[in-house]
């Protein structure tokens, strides 16, 4: 399973080489998340309708390597948007993927774009 982790590296708006349409905005619950598939990647997409922001990150929780983060609860701490893993409630910043419990592992994040009510995720694959 460890090798799964290597599939995920953060992409930033300026390093994105392709924007992939993953669904309609209404496919994603307000103030919650859902998972999309892109090739062999599983990406968790979060719709923060309270702040009108969208975030995306790997669905793989680095703690026990399970594909669960999209099912976690969202929220913020000191203004940083975050997701809590449903398995052991480790929390991660959705801005930079860092772990907010002070542990060393982190997650990869991806940029999200909304156009005409469609949700696009930025990837940097070939």
């Amino acid at each position: 399973m460890e090798e799964l982790l290597n599939n995920y590296t953060s992409v930033f708006p300026d390093t994105a080489t392709s924007w992939v349409r993953v669904g309609h905005t209404s496919d994603f619950p307000e103030n919650g998340g859902a998972c999309v598939k892109h090739g062999k990647l599983q990406i968790a997409v979060f719709n923060f309708s309270l702040t009108s922001k969208w975030y995306a990150c790997q669905n793989l929780c680095p703690h026990k390597l399970e594909m669960v983060l999209s099912r976690g609860m969202t929220g913020d701490t000191d203004g940083i948007p975050k997701v809590a893993c449903p398995l052991h409630k480790k929390t991660f910043s959705l801005e930079d993927g860092s772990n907010l419990n002070g542990e060393s592992y982190q997650i990869a994040t991806y940029p999200v774009k909304i156009q005409d009510n469609m949700v696009y995720i930025g990837f940097s694959d070939k």
């Binding site: 994603f28 919650g32 923060f48 309270l50 702040t51 399970e66 975050k82 449903p86 398995l87 542990e103």
Partner: protein, 833 residues
């Protein structure tokens, strides 16, 4: 630039780097670190967690990027092989030579392997590094099931190793040469209590055994003892003490002790003034200290010696320990054994509960010299402070271990009475003064800040309760209100939120945030508010799925591999053969692991997210409903068979249990609720182990409340006697509703009652005598909730919009191909972590 070389990148070597890097003069140093192990320093104290829930990376004290960011050159997998004191250089096994101005020896220690014949056989291990653990794991995996492991040494580490062996699935045994366990920390009586406790966990204890030889062909097969007995084993872990790794120092002529260890003075300087030794390799005041706290203190002293020279080592080093042992608490502090003309021991032994407490007190009552706690070490922090600061003892020193029998006041009085110098966190050496000052001077405003800026509680965590008390008391003393607010988003406690939501008729989380809170919410306040909505409006979890705790959001318990379990309600544990067949058929069709639960019903495990609605459709069609096994809500009302069949039964316990379970099904509450109904005082339904329990007696039911099993078992307490069915339900309605209204989040009925001013007598007044005049209101409210019950699984499958959440991918019908199962006794289980 001053060149500093650190040999050894273990816990203490790392602490040296951390402290030096944080020092204002750090810029003046150039630091090079050599570690023999392949990875940067990790948390050896919590090494055993590598077998349960931590990876090697999680154990790291700091990643490589930390060293890089500080400009510290870290060479791992590189052994220093020689020191030249004249030339001031070190040479590594790669023949590389490095110069130093100052050298820090932090080479730690190695496990001591006694010269026993056969100790070199296969299957014999030591317990110190991650590699040791990997080797043990690999070896254990190849052994047949039921294989046995022995641990040589019944000290602190040996017991931990035995537990690790048990976690590897082996039958574990501890072999100790001395006539008692942990001979350096415990007396005979304490050891006997601990032994009973450990044996009850299935670990064999063999005392007074001198091992003569380790027998076996190539690999270990048997241990033979001097008394002509033997023990057949497949694996052995040696944990017989440590030997300081002073070989480098010895070879270059630095002074070492007669029994090993590098001699240092109070500045941590060795016989060569440019060379310092710290941690487990250092021999200070004729002692080697095999604990991390003194090592950290030495690292701090060495840093100060290299910089401002402002600190040296205290003359006596405290070896008090509190253990994280296998399901039992053990602590010893000060001098655990002292007893003479001036000092008398006071002991308390409770063999029934496995508790032993000993304190060694001056005969004139003037001070505390030390003591031992087994089975219950909750008073350790307070006792330690009294001992360590030579504080005044109460008039009856026995109150220190028995509690002053009038109330439950803290034996210390107030934590604020401690002297400022009292060391609260010994791992990070944080004093009471520095914690209080950080708040008084305004640097910190709450617990989170204090932990961040002082590092208190970040080591073993044992001091946490005391730090929390200190922070709260200091805030109070400053006239600041200490509120048990839910989280940063809502500055109210649960009861206030409950009242506000009810009065203001708030119905959605967004509205609650807008009117009562701030920010986006989080994983703490969302479930609290969701629970309040359901208690006030009987909302099911379908109304606002995203604010539910993760289990409630998908109406199922998530499993270790991200699949779910399905638990239909089986009220009172009564189930017909037809329904049993349905459960069997559904489980077969979806290939689910089945198990009878501790709550008298059947759990079907291993369903994938998209299968949940399909499974529940079949179950609901067959007459089942949600069992709410995932919610903080009513779980089960356990029954015994009662007067319908049992020759002793006094009333129909099954019928009544079913009636009660159906009455409160779906009721959400601050924590889960469980009930029990027994047909006579033999109590086969374990009703007194539940949040509410009924026991049939002559003339009706006795009603008990506020018990639970779980982590802190409590027997329920008698609320009322000889009730008829209707009165029982009336009192239950009042009791449950009162609890739901007033409890804190995730506080079960027993701890709620403990905190309720006036306790059970007050509860009786409210529930029975209606002293608050709210009884009718509570009953009406409960009846309203009962009337509104709906099966939330039925809702979820009937409304396609609600069902759409049970899909792994939004943009594909594929299933998650990373989920793997392996087989287990003709069924399946998740691939282990």
């Amino acid at each position: 630039m001053k060149k500093v070389i650190v040999i050894g990148n273990g816990m203490v070597g790392y602490k040296f780097c951390e402290k030096l890097a944080a020092h204002p003069d750090f810029e003046a140093f150039q630091v090079v670190v050599f570690g023999e192990e392949p990875r940067p320093a990790y948390d050896r104290v919590h090494l055993s967690e590598y077998f349960s829930d931590k990876t090697a990376d999680q154990l790291l004290l700091a990643g490589r990027d930390w060293y890089a960011s500080k400009g510290i050159a870290l060479h791992t997998s590189e052994l220093v092989t020689a020191i030249d004191l004249e030339a001031k250089t070190v040479t590594t096994h790669k023949q590389a030579v490095y110069e130093y101005d100052n050298l820090i020896l932090a080479t730690g220690s190695a496990p001591f392997v006694p010269p026993i014949k056969g100790a070199d056989k296969k299957g014999v291990f030591v317990y110190r590094t991650i590699e040791d653990l990997d080797a043990m794991k690999a070896y254990a995996a190849k052994l047949k099931s039921g294989a046995k492991a022995a641990v040589l040494g019944g000290g602190l580490l040996g017991l931990e190793a035995a537990n690790a062996a048990k976690e590897l699935g082996l039958e574990a045994h501890v072999i100790e040469f001395a006539p008692r366990l942990m001979p350096r920390q415990l007396d005979d009586a304490a050891s006997a209590i601990l032994q009973a406790k450990i044996e009850s966990l299935g670990i064999g204890i063999h005392l007074s055994k001198a091992t003569q030889q380790i027998a076996g062909d190539e690999a270990i097969e048997r241990m033979e003892f001097a008394d002509d007995t033997h023990l057949d084993v497949d694996m052995l872990i040696i944990s017989a003490g440590i030997r300081p790794r002073d070989e480098l120092a010895r070879a270059c002529g630095i002074q070492v002790g007669p029994r090993g260890g590098i001699v240092v003075n109070e500045k941590m300087q060795t016989s060569d003034s440019h060379v310092y030794a710290i941690g487990e390799v250092a021999l200070y005041n004729d002692g080697i200290y095999g604990l991390v706290a003194p090592g950290y203190e030495m690292a701090d002293v060495a840093v100060h010696q290299l910089t401002d020279g402002s600190k040296s080592m205290a003359a006596s080093i405290d070896m008090s320990t509190q253990l994280k042992l296998i399901g039992t608490e053990v602590a010893s502090f000060g001098d655990p054994f002292i007893e003479n003309e001036e000092v008398a021991a006071i002991t308390y032994v409770n063999k029934r509960n496995g508790i032993y407490k000993r304190i060694n007190v001056a005969r004139d009552g003037s001070r505390l010299y030390g003591g031992i706690l087994v089975g219950d070490s909750s008073d350790y922090n307070s006792l330690f402070q009294i001992y360590y600061n030579a504080m005044k003892l109460p008039l009856n020193p026995e109150d220190l271990i028995l509690g002053s029998r009038g109330g439950d006041s803290n034996i210390l009085g107030s934590v604020l009475d401690l002297p400022d110098t009292a060391q609260i966190c010994s791992c990070e050496s944080v004093s009471k003064g520095s914690i209080c000052k950080s708040i008084e001077e305004g640097t910190c405003s709450d617990l989170k800040d204090v932990i961040k800026c002082t590092k208190a509680t970040t080591g073993c965590g044992g001091c946490k309760p005391m730090v929390v008390d200190l922070v709260n008391e200091t805030l109070k003393a400053l006239g600041k209100e200490v509120k048990d607010t839910v989280c940063e988003h809502f500055k109210y406690n649960r009861q206030e939120l409950y009242d506000l939501i009810k009065i203001k008729l708030i119905k959605t989380f967004e509205e609650a945030l807008a009117r009562l809170g701030s920010g986006c919410g989080c994983e703490i306040c969302k479930p609290v508010i969701a629970s309040i909505f359901s208690s006030v409006y009987m909302d099911t979890a379908n109304k606002q799925p995203v604010i539910q705790d993760s289990n409630d959001r998908f109406l199922a318990n998530i499993q270790r591999n991200g699949t779910y379990s399905v638990v239909p309600r089986v009220a009172g544990g009564e189930i017909s053969p037809e329904k049993l067949i349905v459960l069997g058929e559904v489980a077969k069709k979806y290939n689910l692991y089945t198990k009878i639960t501790g709550g008298q019903r059947i759990d079907l495990f291993g369903a994938r997210l998209h299968e949940l609605p399909l499974i529940w459709k079949e179950l609901i069609d067959a007459g089942f409903e949600s069992g709410h096994a995932y919610g903080k809500s009513l779980r089960t009302v356990k029954s015994c068979v009662g007067s319908t069949w049992c020759r002793y039964g006094m009333h129909e316990s099954v019928s009544f249990a079913i009636e009660i379970e159906n009455r409160y099904r779906g009721l959400r509450s601050p924590h889960k609720l469980k009930g029990g109904v027994s047909g006579c005082i033999r109590e086969c339904a374990e009703a007194r182990g539940k949040d509410f329990g009924l026991i049939a007696v002559d003339g009706g039911w006795n009603l008990y409340v506020c018990g639970n099993g779980g982590a802190t078992p409590k027997h329920a307490i008698l609320l009322a006697e000889q009730l008829d069915d209707a009165t029982c339900i009336k009192y239950l309605d009042r009791f449950l509703m009162f609890y739901i209204r007033t409890s804190g989040p995730l506080v079960r009925t027993a701890p709620w009652l403990e905190k309720l001013d006036g306790g059970i007598e007050y509860l009786k007044q409210v529930v029975i005598e209606d002293s608050l005049g709210i009884a009718e209101e509570l009953e009406t409210e409960m009846q309203g909730l009962v009337n509104k019950y709906e099966c939330e699984w039925k809702q979820a499958i009937e409304d396609p919009k609600l069902a759409s959440r049970f899909k792994h991918f939004v943009n594909s019908d594929d299933v998650d191909d990373t989920v793997e199962f392996v087989s287990l006794r003709d069924q399946k289980m998740p691939r282990p972590w």
